[in-house]
């Protein structure tokens, strides 16, 4: 499957990936509108890890042996047959946070407003995920 690869040596910690991720998962998909008019603001589906000058953007790795799949009580977490991405059905999620407990990367987050979890969906069908497309320094690569 196509994956997002991280080149942390070129991540400049600008967080444009995060900002564009928020916009991509907003109702309007428009930056200014998403930030100024849509409340509650959607969560970014990735985390930017920073320690000193080292930083990188981390999204769901869509693991082959994804522990979140077996930990999910309701079957909300599932693997897409076609793309092999690990996706999340928000209608089935009951917010038990078991997936968060078992995720080895810490990339699943609590969406407190909706009482469900929030994770990377590889921008659902977009040719290139928004974080990769908007990284100004090619620190993220989709291949």
């Amino acid at each position: 499957m196509k994956r997002i690869y991280i080149h942390e040596e070129y991540c400049i910690g600008c967080r444009l990936c995060e900002i564009h991720c928020i916009a991509q998962h907003s109702r309007s998909k428009k930056l200014i509108k998403a930030f100024k008019e849509e409340f509650p603001r959607p969560l970014p589906r990735l985390v930017v890890e920073e320690s000193g000058y080292i930083s990188f953007a981390l999204q769901c790795r869509h693991c082959e042996d994804a522990p979140c799949l077996s930990a999910c009580l309701t079957g909300a977490m599932y693997r897409d047959e076609k793309t092999k991405a690990v996706l999340h059905d928000k209608d089935k999620c009951v917010g038990c946070w078991m997936c968060i407990m078992v995720c080895p990367f810490g990339v699943i987050k609590r969406d407190e407003n909706n009482k469900i979890v929030s994770k990377c969906d590889l921008c659902n069908g977009e040719e290139v995920p928004a974080c990769v497309a908007n990284c100004p320094n090619e620190a993220l690569e989709y291949r």
């Binding site: 600008c14 967080r15 200014i32 100004p136 320094n137």
Partner: protein, 508 residues
């Protein structure tokens, strides 16, 4: 604290309608011109800190930022301009020399813009470079005065008897100027090296030594030996394809170099062979060179060290007596002479020197080429011109004036993202070029930078071919020193005489 009269150079205009307070600008500005107020969830700016590098503007996802010149309107005065006043205010407060970076930005004539090229019409055919071969290949090095051949009687074959001195082979007559590791980041050095290798040209280490990771680009490296002798050892000399002795630099003729201690990181200290954190001072003169004879000793010492396998050249700043100095250098045994003009760049120089010392490169090329011809030693030395080359037409005009090849520095930096804000000396380059701060230097992805450099040189090379074709010339070799292809506009008699060109309108 008494009132400061220094006014900001730039004004940061933030469109509140568009600003989403995402703080990209805050995170990108090393000068801390943008500040986030968490209480109001708003970003505001401090104009006095802005250096006009336009990094925030380029990265702002909603185009909310616009950096403009600060409107400082004093009563109209051609003598006391806002810039002049600000310099006085600055010095009145600091009592110090004003430092700056990049090349001279003053309004001296740019002769490139007053020289026009020729083209073929009717009586001689022009050439279409897309259909016919066009040669940009250039060789730098001493050329033999004549070629002796040996004819073998039996098989009617010819053998060249003359031994050719070592040469540099350039696929296009454009090289990357000396920019040291220290003045620019490792990523920037690596990008230059990779681009030079891909294009088939050379980059120059400057006086920074050669980082172990860059030895693999040795075949495309010109190593420099300057007055501080930083990083010079036998492996270094033998790693490169040629050696350049740096006497002077266009941005600061007669002035040494100073890399502040805070820039001398672990890696740089190892590369330069100096203790970490100490200032790297390059003296103004070479303390062992006080005459052409002394220079000859160093040239031959370096030739000995490299077993006469590499061309050894000398770089000087274009100063008043440049032609006589250049012939001296040629006679001292140099294989190439690099001349750096008034507008040549630097990582740090006193502003007063940068803006007031030296002569324009156009005149320097012309007078040096003429003098070498008059003395009958033009073929003994190649002439590399540097200092403010902005576009391919500047390059082709330099070659027609008599240069063998040119060095580009600022143009190469601009290809990597430089916005010529002249703050290189602060070490806070927001574009990750002139900095050693790991937060900043990783902003320059060498993959992107090398790609952009290759694109620039390829584009210029295509344009060179177009212009050559128009003149009906199919090899850059045939244009070299061919000043009949140049005509001057708006130039005085003395300027035309020194440039060795005719005024526009005059035929052959």
């Amino acid at each position: 604290m008494p009132l400061s009269t220094i006014f900001p150079e730039f004004k940061i205009i933030r469109d509140k309608e568009k600003c989403i307070a995402c703080q990209v600008c805050v995170r990108q500005c090393a000068f801390e011109a943008h500040i986030y107020d968490p209480e109001k969830d708003e970003v505001y700016s401090d104009d006095s800190k802005c250096v006009g590098c336009h990094r925030c503007e380029a990265l702002c996802p909603t185009d909310a930022l616009n950096i403009i010149k600060y409107p400082f309107d004093i009563k109209d005065n051609k003598n006391w301009t806002p810039g002049i006043l600000n310099d006085i205010y600055r010095q009145a407060e600091s009592g110090a020399i004003i430092l700056t970076g990049m090349g001279c930005d003053k309004d001296y004539p740019i002769y490139w813009d007053r020289i026009l090229l020729n083209a073929s019409q009717v009586t001689n055919p022009s050439i279409d470079p897309l259909r016919e071969p066009m040669e940009l290949r250039t060789f730098i090095g001493r050329k033999p005065r004549y070629v002796e051949v040996e004819r073998s009687q039996e098989r009617d074959t010819v053998k060249v008897k003359t031994q050719l001195p070592p040469q540099l082979r350039l696929e296009t007559p454009i090289m990357f100027s000396a920019m040291s590791y220290g003045s620019i980041s490792f990523n920037a050095c690596q990008a230059l090296a990779r681009a030079a290798e891909e294009i088939g040209t050379y980059y120059n280490t400057g006086e920074g030594g050669l980082h172990p990771d860059l030895y693999k680009f040795g075949a495309n490296t010109i190593v420099q030996v300057a007055s501080g002798r930083f990083g010079v050892h036998p492996d270094y000399l033998n790693a490169g394809a040629a050696i350049e002795i740096k006497i002077g630099q266009g941005a600061k003729p007669g002035i040494g170099g100073h890399l502040p201690g805070e820039k001398v990181t672990e890696e740089i200290s190892r590369t330069r062979m100096i203790p970490t954190g100490t200032d790297a001072l390059s003296p103004a003169p070479h303390h062992d060179i006080y005459s052409i004879e002394d220079l000859r000793q160093l040239i031959y010492a370096l030739k000995e060290a490299t077993e006469y396998k590499k061309p050894v050249g000398v770089k000087i700043a274009a100063v008043h007596n440049v032609a006589a100095i250049a012939t001296g250098i040629a006679r001292a045994g140099a294989d190439f002479i690099t001349i750096d003009g008034l507008r040549g760049g630097t990582g740090a120089a006193p502003q007063v020197i940068r803006d007031n010392v030296g002569i324009p490169i156009e005149l320097a090329i012309a007078v040096v080429d003429s003098r070498l011809r008059e003395e009958g030693i033009r073929e003994e030395v190649s002439l590399i011109a540097a200092g403010g080359f902005r576009k391919s037409s500047d390059v082709i005009k330099a070659i027609a004036l008599g240069a063998d090849a040119v060095y580009i520095g600022t143009a190469a930096l601009a290809a990597m993202g430089c916005h010529v804000c002249q703050k290189c000396y602060t070490g806070k380059c927001n574009w990750g070029i002139a900095t050693q701060d790991p937060y900043l230097s990783k902003r320059l992805n060498p993959n992107i930078a090398a790609r952009r450099l290759v694109n620039l040189i390829n584009a210029w090379s295509k344009e060179l071919k177009e212009m050559l074709g128009g003149m009906g010339i199919n090899a850059i070799e045939s244009l070299r020193g061919n000043r009949e292809h140049l005509r001057g506009v708006g130039l005085e008699e003395w300027e035309l005489r020194l440039l060795g060109i005719k005024p526009a309108g005059e035929g052959w």
